[in-house]
Assembly symmetry: C2
Homo-oligomer: 193 residues x 2
């Protein structure tokens, strides 16, 4: 899928811009193209050489972030082993891709826009598949939809990332805190309502 006609230099610059865009926009959606260029350590005019539009840049950043998260997910091998263990690997992977996830999750509109027109890599097992597998095995709550569980997963991961940003959680404790919240909730001896 990568354009092989693009030189190494250009390819590297492009990646830097996309990473900077996701990182900056995750923290401030109203950020200026100048802000993004500065974060990418390039001139604003250079940015325009790669992406004609702001919209063009955002679109590319979304697709790119999808790919990055997808890759992280793939690395967690979530189609193997017990669902609980697979989910713990997935959470760790998602936390690692925090910037990208925060960028995607932080803007509901962006996500919606692309869910329709963006066809995911079918060779990569999806999060929903893992959740459904866990539900079938009676490990994940079968009383709610897999999509809801996925939303909760993303929300908790995002919250963990944000908490670390604010200094509320130590970086190295995010994955554990998210995992714990996801698996057990906040009540010690849960009484199902």
């Amino acid at each position: 899928m990568t354009d092989t006609r693009e030189s190494g230099t250009r390819s590297r610059t492009r990646r830097a811009i996309l990473a900077a865009a996701a990182s900056v926009l995750a923290r401030d959606r109203g950020a200026t193209l100048a802000d993004i260029a500065e974060a990418a350590q390039i001139g604003r005019s250079t940015l325009h050489r790669y992406f004609s539009d702001r919209q063009d840049l955002v679109n590319a950043a979304v697709v790119d972030s999808f790919r990055v998260v997808e890759k992280s997910t793939a690395g967690a091998a979530i189609d193997q082993g017990p669902p609980i263990e697979a989910m713990r690997r997935l959470i760790a992977a998602l936390v690692d891709a925090g910037d990208r996830l925060a960028f995607l999750f932080g803007d509901p509109r962006v996500l919606e826009e692309f869910t329709a027109c963006f066809e995911p890599d079918l060779s990569v097992p999806t999060t929903v598949t893992l959740i459904e597998r866990g539900q079938a095995e009676g490990v994940f709550d079968p009383g709610v939809s897999a999509e809801w569980i996925q939303q909760v997963l993303w929300a908790l991961t995002y919250t963990g990332w944000e908490a670390a940003e604010k200094g509320l959680l130590p970086r190295h404790g995010v994955a554990a805190a998210v995992t714990r919240a996801f698996e057990s909730g906040m009540v010690v001896s849960p009484a199902r309502p």
Copy 2:
């Protein structure tokens, strides 16, 4: 605190603008003042008669939303009864104030800005107080900070609101889904890591 010199008409219009602002901005942070005026069913020039600045409007909307959420919280009487029950009432109240919460929670910067300069009504028991009470009684997870639990609470509530917006959850099921997630997490037989 309400300016008694303001006529009933103006007071009503002001409230309508603030409610519209929170509602519109919760769904689209980049929304135009024209969008907000339209949602409030007033002319754009009228809006400027009430709030000189965009910043002025946003500030007022934040303060107002704080008050609304505070009032909801107060109505839940979270300083009374078992913490679990109090938390369930609180979640129901927060879900009811969904728009306002989404507005406040959806923009981390807004929240930060005001947490410092905005002194809360001390006569109203705070969420953190409830959480700490629950932790002291061994009901809420004492292994994490109360602030983290509060973040999770807000995140889950926001996610429930958003899921309802997207049609992923029925409106009447949001509070139950959030409560369940908050208390028990997503795993049927939790194995604490």
